[in-house]
């Protein structure tokens, strides 16, 4: 069952076989599989359970209900907003449901550099198939492509750029366009809809409003989790919840997981825990059209362009020659282009300026298209615990990522013009406004170090990277910790690098893999 820990008689102490921290893509899948294989499982989730009947499509209600820091989480320098979920089902509750496997070139590189003996290709195939079946992954039908995405496609066609439809995990979608605020129609096949009922069915227990503080361990062996129940409104600690468990699986996301491991003084001679964060940073540009675009209507993202995403070029084999290595450093192989749209409140905070200038920009809201360039990043950020309940994230783009980001921003502008925009805006302070035929050099010249333009990211990853050699990885390719028995990781932290595309499918798959590995032990 799902229990609200804020209603427990505190303090409370509970014994179980496996304690899973976090109920997102990784944690929910791991918990469901382990429970179905016979383990007694307790899942701790810091956020609330927000069923579809409570979802009201209002930004001011759903962002605080579903998102960490109410959607305002940033790096410590404030320059990059990193959006993550904090509700039962994690970030899968508010995400946009795109599904994509990790490309071969990246899996090849991982095998070369990290071993991956427990995750050969045959195993990936097996777990991908299981997850795709569970989530009912299917192509987004062409009649569901909204006007906003059609404009994107039109721009790609005009430029001769590659573009194509995407896969998603929805059933019964009524094309409301409110995916980022949770689905009132229960059409998203997310962790809360697919895996949470399986956990409960298999007699697993889920505690919401319950935040893990540290993993308990002694003599190289995990023996439980120290957690607190949170008051639902203030989110302050109400009292302790202690879980005694022989197995602990940390699935608190690529930011939450390293924070817990570091706060718990989990040994890691490789020094990688919390030091290799990647995020898929993105910049956006908006284009003004003569006719209404109404980008908020319909499935938000259904078409993307991989014209500047060449995984083979970006990931040459280890024994590749100089030419291939030099090519990998060239700009324009690591950018994914896709439409994005936000509801008024979020759009208004992104739009630069104030007063008249801002109001005039917002008046064009219904005639705007917004395209984003998301970068398959290589820069490494850090995550550190902050006190008992919080964490600090640092990430800033190293030179190759900086160049790639600005290259991508210029391509979004080009694409908007090709789609028919009469004006393009980059949300730079001060506003950069371009007309057809203008040089795009103001976009290439942006100084990303000054905070004059906001970076956004929705895919934190790779902060506890897996690898079979304990000297360069904290956990092996089963997600099992190299140095603490009974300790596992199952979430986006596990990727050894960023993956250049939507990660949820692969994180669910890793959850299944880790859950089975725990039960098999």
């Amino acid at each position: 069952m799902i229990y609200d820990a804020s209603t427990f008689d505190l303090p409370i102490r509970i014994k179980t076989d496996l304690c899973v921290i976090g109920s997102g893509a990784g944690g929910a899948a791991a918990a469901a599989v382990a429970a179905e294989l016979g383990l007694d499982v307790v899942v701790l989730e810091t956020g609330p359970f927000v069923p579809p009947s409570v979802m009201n499509q209002r930004e001011e209600d759903m962002m605080p209900a579903l998102l960490r820091a109410n959607g305002s989480q940033t790096t410590t320098d404030g320059r990059c907003t990193i959006i993550q979920g904090r509700a039962l089902g994690g970030s899968t509750v508010h995400n946009t449901n795109l599904c994509k496997r990790i490309p071969d070139a990246i899996l090849d590189e991982w095998e070369e550099t990290r071993g991956m003996k427990y995750l050969p290709r045959s195993r990936w195939e097996e777990i991908y198939q299981q997850v795709e079946a569970a989530l009912d992954v299917s192509p987004i039908e062409s009649h569901r492509v909204n006007h906003h995405n059609q404009l994107f496609q039109r721009g790609c066609e005009a430029l001769g750029w590659d573009s194509g439809g995407l896969l998603h995990n929805r059933n019964g979608c009524v094309e409301s366009g409110f995916c980022s605020l949770g689905c009132s129609y229960d059409a998203k096949n997310n962790a809360a809809k697919i895996y949470v009922p399986r956990i409960v069915e298999a007699d697993g227990q889920i505690f919401t409003h319950c935040q893990a503080v540290r993993v308990l361990h002694r003599d190289g062996k995990a023996y439980g989790v120290e957690a607190v129940a949170l008051e639902p409104t203030t989110r302050r600690s109400m009292g302790s919840v202690t879980i005694e468990a022989d197995q602990v699986c940390v699935s608190a996301s690529a930011t939450g997981t390293p924070a817990i491991l570091l706060r718990s003084d989990i040994p890691d001679p490789s020094g990688e825990t919390g030091n290799r964060l990647t995020i898929h940073p993105a910049l956006v540009a908006a284009g003004e059209f003569d006719k209404p675009v109404r980008g908020w209507e319909g499935i938000p993202q259904s078409i993307a362009s991989s014209e500047f995403l060449d995984f083979e070029a970006a990931h040459p084999p280890q024994d590749a020659g100089d030419a291939a290595r030099a090519r990998a450093e060239e700009v324009g192989h690591r950018t994914w282009l896709i439409p994005v749209f936000a509801h008024p409140m979020s759009t208004a905070t992104i739009m630069p300026g104030w007063g008249k200038e801002h109001r005039r920009l917002m008046e064009r809201y219904d005639r705007m298209a917004v395209f984003t360039a998301m970068v398959h990043d290589r820069s490494h950020g850090t995550v550190r615990p902050s006190g008992e309940l919080d964490l600090d994230i640092e990430w800033s783009p190293a030179e190759p990522d900086r160049r790639e980001l600005l290259f991508g921003l210029a391509r979004t502008a080009e694409l908007l013009f090709a789609a028919g925009a009469k004006r393009v805006f980059a949300p730079h302070r001060p506003l950069i406004e371009l007309e057809p035929g203008d040089s795009l050099s103001p976009l290439h010249d942006i100084d990303l170090t000054t905070g004059a333009i906001d970076l956004n990211a929705v895919h934190p990853m790779s902060s506890v990277p897996m690898g079979d050699d304990p000297s360069n990885a904290p956990v092996d390719s089963r997600g099992k910790h190299h140095h603490i028995d009974g300790l596992w990781v199952a979430d986006g932290s596990l990727f050894p690098t960023s993956i250049g595309g939507p990660p949820q499918l692969s994180i669910y798959a890793l959850g299944v893999h880790v859950g089975q590995s725990i039960a098999d032990l």
Partner: protein, 216 residues
Amino acid sequence: MSEEEAKSPEDSEEANGDGLLHMTRRKFLWLTGAGVVGALAVGRFGCYSTEQWEGQVLARWEAHTMAAAALALIPDEPGRWPTEGPTPWEVAANVDRYLSGMPQAMLREIRGMFVLIEQGTLLGCGIRRFTRLPAAKRLDVLLTIRDRGEMFALAFEGIRALCYVGWYQDDHTWQRLGYDGLMIQREGPPAVPTPEQSAPYQELVAEPGAVPRGVL
């Protein structure tokens, strides 16, 4: 949170003589904390109007500062409040609701931001606090803060963003944007609260206070 709590500066790190630029977040918090102490010393936190304020997160003076900043930043011209949306005081109330449950570290930063803005005139040796200034002068103060760069520019961005959080969550502001609002309020397919669809979720949830299995 009481007003007293709202005023306590973060005391974990000392300010040094680095000047205002290139400061870390902690130093910024310390400085704004120091601003509170200085402001208390000259009595600049008293005498706010007794207008009804039932905020859960913002103290009364912070709500006043929020409303005053909204009046400077939202209208076409500072002080000429647009008629289609919430009042400045309602903007502050909307922001207050939105901030509920924010992590404590972020709330500390937001409080620092309010101190900086309300007492920011001190940095320029101004005598009157922000909320006492005419709207156009308030905009000048905000832009002076922004122009100091780094964390000050972030504080400006913070208050600017909160203004729009408070303004554009109100349905009355949407018509001008051509935004037709929530689909669940329009003609269309029913949302999930139909009994058949919500029942499977309700069945998963234990009664409040229920005792889980395995209690020691």
